[in-house]
């Protein structure tokens, strides 16, 4: 099983899907599904392999190569796994929509190019796949149409273009210096480079990866893009696409520059990893409060994606094996629960006729129990409630932060979690709990194929929460590959000197306690089931279906923090865009339309040349 074949299947599948779609939609769907499934199977066959191979096709005298190792495998698996689920989900979700050939083909193409970025063995093919990923994503973000989606698309692609341009400069700068772009070879060379260049490259790369990872202050594209994309694609965006930025950071910091270089780059306390960590911390807190202010189900999730990225960066930048494991594991966890949550939000949207406004939903728990369970579990994972997967990774991150003596960063992380709790509950409450509005009386449950991914992901969240050792062993191998000391992972958790985590004990205790309480409730208490609206109101009648307390759920908090958590970065960027527009408007005025002026420009140019030469004779 080779990576070339994998890439070939992925890219070819994308194109073939489009062609088949012109023949028959059913064939197209089947093929897309089959293709995604085949890719998952293939990548799982590649587990544990490690090799690097040159591609037959060079580019401008550069050798291109692909490689496979634990790091690549880890990311590839998330990409292809979520890709498969997303395709399954799309089968029903996207039914009866327009441009499905285009949708499936682009979706698979994005997956293929993401796969390409992680298996690329040299920076050029990395860049090429990266760009393909960027523009194909742009093509899909605006699929829904409408001014918001279009604006989101343009915002995304401009930010992404900034990122890829800086990355191009960085890559070429490396190429100019070392005459190779193979990641492994560069790793050897970079050690010998000058501080100045290392910093130059580091900063430029970081801008790219921070942009795509949507960290503050380059997060602004994400909330729009993720909220406006169609839900299966939002899941891909949030779960795997933005995490390509982390993959890049891994490559940059550990596979290429290495610790010694990073250490040398420090200037007092102002080291690279500190800056990165603080960016992560700011992102966490800011995103948490921004998410709190949102009233759109997908926008909440989008902001949470921003914030969770901050956790991962925190973990990565701490650069201990614990932190690294935490960060890496969090990538996997986030990928699972955010995909789940987007699927749930999409299902709600699908059944309620496109409603994402949290103020107008409510009480859907009885109507869509699967969605509710998925949503609740997903939110628990997001918060990091013990016994869900998010808990383990967050615990690792916190612990490494505390042990490394970074209490302020830890503070930001904790505070962000509390923000998460607030908006997570709001998500659950406003959609599923409370009164069921009358117009949703006849809402049906989730269709089967949409429920499948939701169930799978729900199960995974529990599985990884209770038996974190399974994914952690992979994560640990990633860490080892990057040069970290191996963690002593057992299937139950991570033992260590100060503060062990044993999830199974927790589970057992909770199960026993819960069982006892439940017994007490069942055995002693006698209860009758009553209707949801049959409530106590001190004698006053509560109007049915109209008295759902959701609007302004946290309004006192908004009043306090609202003025401070405006997205001023976004406003700033938009202002810059506005300025650019007006500068353009002014610039074009030099073309006045009067031909005499134009001739004057020519003569002026000539005269200026001559004058300068006569006066100073520089030429």
């Amino acid at each position: 099983m080779t990576v070339e074949l994998l890439l070939g299947v992925a890219l070819g599948g994308a194109l073939l899907t489009y062609v088949l779609g012109k023949i028959s939609p059913g064939l197209r769907n089947a093929f897309a599904l089959l293709n995604a499934l085949a890719l998952v199977v293939m990548i799982s066959l590649l587990y544990g392999q490690s090799f690097e191979r040159a591609l037959p096709l060079g580019f401008l005298g550069l050798e291109l190569s692909v490689r496979m190792n634990m790091l690549s495998w880890f990311f590839a698996v998330t990409i292809l796994g979520i890709g498969l689920l997303s395709v399954i989900y799309s089968l029903v979700y996207m039914r009866n929509k327009e441009r499905l050939d285009y949708y499936y083909a682009t979706l698979l193409f994005i997956n293929a190019s993401m796969l390409g970025t992680v298996v690329a063995g040299d920076l050029l093919s990395f860049f090429v796949f990266w760009e393909m990923m960027s523009w194909s994503t742009y093509l899909l973000i605006s699929l829904r149409g409408g001014s918001k989606a279009i604006f989101a698309g343009i915002k995304y692609i401009v930010m992404s273009l900034i990122g890829s341009l800086t990355m191009l400069v960085a890559i070429v700068s490396l190429y100019v210096s070392f005459d190779t772009l193979s990641i492994t070879e560069l790793a050897g060379h970079v050690q010998s480079t000058t501080m100045g260049q290392a910093l130059f490259v580091l900063v430029l790369f970081s801008v790219t990866f921070v942009i795509i990872n949507a960290l503050w202050p380059f997060h602004t594209w994400l909330p729009d893009a993720h909220a406006e994309a169609v839900s299966p694609f939002s899941a891909i965006l949030s779960a795997v696409l933005v995490r390509k930025g982390l993959y890049g950071l891994y490559l940059l910091m550990y596979a290429m520059l290495g610790f010694s270089m990073l250490g040398k780059l420090a200037w007092g306390a102002l080291s690279y990893s500190n800056v990165l960590a603080w960016i992560g911390a700011i992102t966490i807190v800011f995103a948490a409060f921004r998410a709190l202010m949102q009233n759109d189900s997908k926008r909440i999730l989008a902001w949470s994606t921003v914030g969770q990225g901050g956790y991962m960066v925190l973990g990565v930048s701490v650069a201990t094996n614990l932190g690294m494991a935490g960060g890496t594991f969090h990538i996997l966890n986030h990928c699972i629960y955010i995909a789940l949550l987007f699927f749930v939000a999409g299902a709600i949207e699908y059944r309620t006729g496109g409603i994402r406004d949290l103020d107008s939903l409510g009480g859907l728990i009885k109507r869509m129990p699967v969605a509710f369970v998925g949503g609740l579990v997903g939110i628990c994972g997001l918060i990091g409630v013990p016994l869900t997967n998010g808990f383990v990774s967050k615990w690792l991150i916190y612990k490494s932060l505390v042990l490394e003596g970074r209490p302020f960063l830890a503070f930001a992380a904790f505070l962000g979690t509390w923000g998460t709790i607030l908006y997570g509950y709001k998500f659950i409450h406003n959609i599923f709990l409370g009164q069921l509005p009358d117009r949703f009386r006849d809402v049906k449950g989730i269709p089967f194929t949409m429920a499948v991914p939701i169930v799978i992901l729900t199960v995974l969240i529990f599985l990884f929460g209770v038996l974190p050792g399974i994914p952690l062993s992979v994560v640990d191998q990633v860490g080892t590959y990057l040069g970290f000391e191996s963690l002593n992972v057992s299937i139950w958790g991570i033992p260590s000197e100060t503060g062990t985590l044993n999830v199974v004990n927790l589970l057992a205790a909770l199960a026993v306690a819960g069982f006892i309480v439940w017994l007490v409730l069942r055995a002693i208490g006698r209860s009758v089931s009553v209707d949801q609206d049959d409530t106590y109101a001190a004698g006053a009648a509560i109007p049915s279906g109209k008295y759902h307390y959701t609007v302004g759920f946290y309004s006192p908090l908004y009043r306090i923090v609202g003025p401070y958590v405006r997205d001023f970065v976004d406003a700033f960027f938009l202002k810059i865009a506005g300025w650019t527009g007006s500068v353009c408007g002014v610039t074009r005025k030099i073309y006045t339309g009067f031909v005499g002026n134009y001739v004057m420009y020519i003569i002026l140019f000539l005269a200026a040349l001559i004058f300068v030469q006569i006066a100073w004779s520089p030429w």
């Binding site: 050029l124 090429v128 279009i150 191009l168 190429y175 100019v176 650019t580 031909v595 140019f605």
Partner: protein, 489 residues
């Protein structure tokens, strides 16, 4: 033995034949450019392997070089000739369907003569001959811009003509001053004698020639005619003007600076000028709501980028610049062709009227998208390798000034990306207000667009042959002594 003079003589002969043909059938004239371009393409490709090793110096009339006009078919010349033939072919095929009104035979005749002029400019080794072919190029483009006979076309044409005529006046003055000082018109001969005269007095002709050629090359601030002319001309002509004409002007300028004058000291100024042209072009393009005008301003920006790369005058940068030139020709031609039929169908050049075109004309829209992506420099399209080469060249200079300028250049690219993506979105994702039925462009036009799109993707994925060609072309442009030697030997 294929002679490079065939590249000029045969199309010219065919052009002279057109009036005779059109006496028989007006429509038959439209096949002539296609035949001529095919012929040129074959000849150029046949010549290519040979000239990569050893440039062919064709002595017209058979006199020894300083005394005759010689053609210099080096890698640059043949590469350009091939490019002109290729782009010319694609656009000629397109025009077979696109040009339906007016004196069709004259359109095709002028079009062919424009290509002849361009080919002559890139092949000639004589400054005055360059001027003559340049005038052929210019005059035919003045006439073609006004071809539609509408208000804007005429206005643009007149403005173009006035500026162009002033430019060629300056150019001729410069050539006259050169002749006065050196007593010869052969480029190699002038280059050879360049050191023998006072450098200061060479500067004025240089300034005159830069200004004169700069008008056609559309460098800032000499480019005011371009947005008018390119936006008002028929789309096929916009394509050839953007794709070939200004590039040829730029080539002529660079050839003058590099080979004839060897003026290395002014190159830094040209680098700045290139960056400035790029930024201003992109800024103006960003503010446009007229799609063709936007494309025209984008051409200014691209010319700035090419100039930026060429003026850095390292083998990397010149190769990058030439590659960029090629990719711009392909992409911009494709963009104008695609935009041409979209405008034709929607009846307006406003971007807002292109809404929903993705559904009405899917293939044309796809072509536009490919062109736009390529122009922005996204892989796997042809714009990427050229951008890569230019960035590499700028960074290889290892000077912070170039790095900073590169920053501005990339800023320009960013702005370019912004407005192109805006249009692509408008085409695909905005709801059109008018008709929604499918209306494909004619098959001939689609074929021509397909040629360009396929080339864009193919060269983007496998740029090596082109990179080799532009590499040796760069060597030729930079190696002044070799040029002189091979002509005067």
């Amino acid at each position: 033995m294929v002679s490079p003079v065939l590249l000029i003589a045969v199309p010219l002969g065919l052009a002279f034949l057109v009036p005779l043909i059109s006496l028989v059938s007006r429509r038959a004239a439209m096949l002539v450019p296609v035949v001529a371009c095919l012929f040129n393409l074959v000849v150029a490709i046949t010549l290519m392997p040979g000239v990569l090793d050893q440039p062919v110096v064709e002595k017209i009339g058979g006199f020894p070089p300083p005394f005759c006009i010689n053609l210099y078919a080096g890698p640059v010349g043949v590469l350009f000739a091939a490019l002109i033939a290729l782009a010319g072919l694609g656009i000629a095929v397109y025009a077979m369907a696109y040009i339906r009104t007016g004196p069709v035979d004259r359109y095709h005749l002028l079009y062919l003569l424009l290509l002849v002029g361009a080919t002559g400019v890139v092949l000639t080794g004589d400054v005055f001959n360059l001027f003559v072919f340049f005038e052929i190029l210019c005059i035919s483009s003045y006439a073609l811009v006004a071809y539609m006979g509408n208000k804007s076309g005429l206005e643009a044409s007149v403005k173009y003509l006035i500026q162009g005529a002033v430019g060629s006046g300056l150019l001729l003055m410069g050539i006259g001053l050169l002749y006065g000082q050196f007593g010869t018109l052969n480029m190699a001969d002038i280059a050879n004698r360049m050191g023998s005269v006072n450098q200061v007095s060479v500067f004025v002709p240089l300034a005159l020639i830069i200004s004169g050629l700069g008008v056609e090359a559309a460098i800032f601030p000499l480019n005011a005619w371009l947005p008018d002319a390119h936006s008002s001309a028929p789309s096929s002509i916009s394509a050839i003007l953007s794709g070939i004409a200004i590039e040829v002007g730029l080539y002529a300028m660079v050839r003058m600076i590099f080979t004839v004058f060897g003026a290395t000291s002014i190159l830094m100024f040209m680098v700045f000028l290139g960056a400035l042209t790029l930024l201003l072009g992109e800024l103006c393009a960003f503010a446009q709501s007229n799609v063709k005008r936007m494309l025209a301003y984008s051409s200014i920006g691209q010319i700035g980028l090419i100039l930026f790369a060429l003026a850095m005058a390292t083998s990397y940068s010149v190769a990058g610049g030439l590659f960029q030139l090629l990719s711009h020709t392909l992409s911009k031609a494709l963009l104008f062709l695609a935009a041409g039929y979209m405008i034709y169908r929607s009846g307006s050049m406003e971007i807002s009227s292109l809404h929903g075109m993705g559904k009405r004309m899917p293939l044309t829209s796809l072509a536009f998208t490919i062109g736009a992506f390529s122009l922005v420099g996204l892989p796997p399209f042809v714009g990427f390798p050229s951008k890569f080469l230019i960035v590499r060249a700028a960074l290889a200079r290892q000077q912070s000034i170039f790095t900073i300028l590169l920053g501005f250049v990339l800023l320009g690219t960013l702005i370019e990306g912004a407005y192109f993506f805006r249009v692509v979105q408008a085409i695909y994702f905005k709801k059109g207000s008018g008709e929604t039925g499918r209306s494909y462009a004619p098959a001939v036009a689609l074929v021509s667009m397909f040629i360009f799109a396929a080339l864009i993707i193919f060269v983007g994925i496998y740029p090596q042959p082109v990179a080799d060609a532009v590499g040796s072309a760069a060597t030729e442009l930079l190696d002044r002594a070799e040029y002189v030697r091979s002509v005067l030997q």
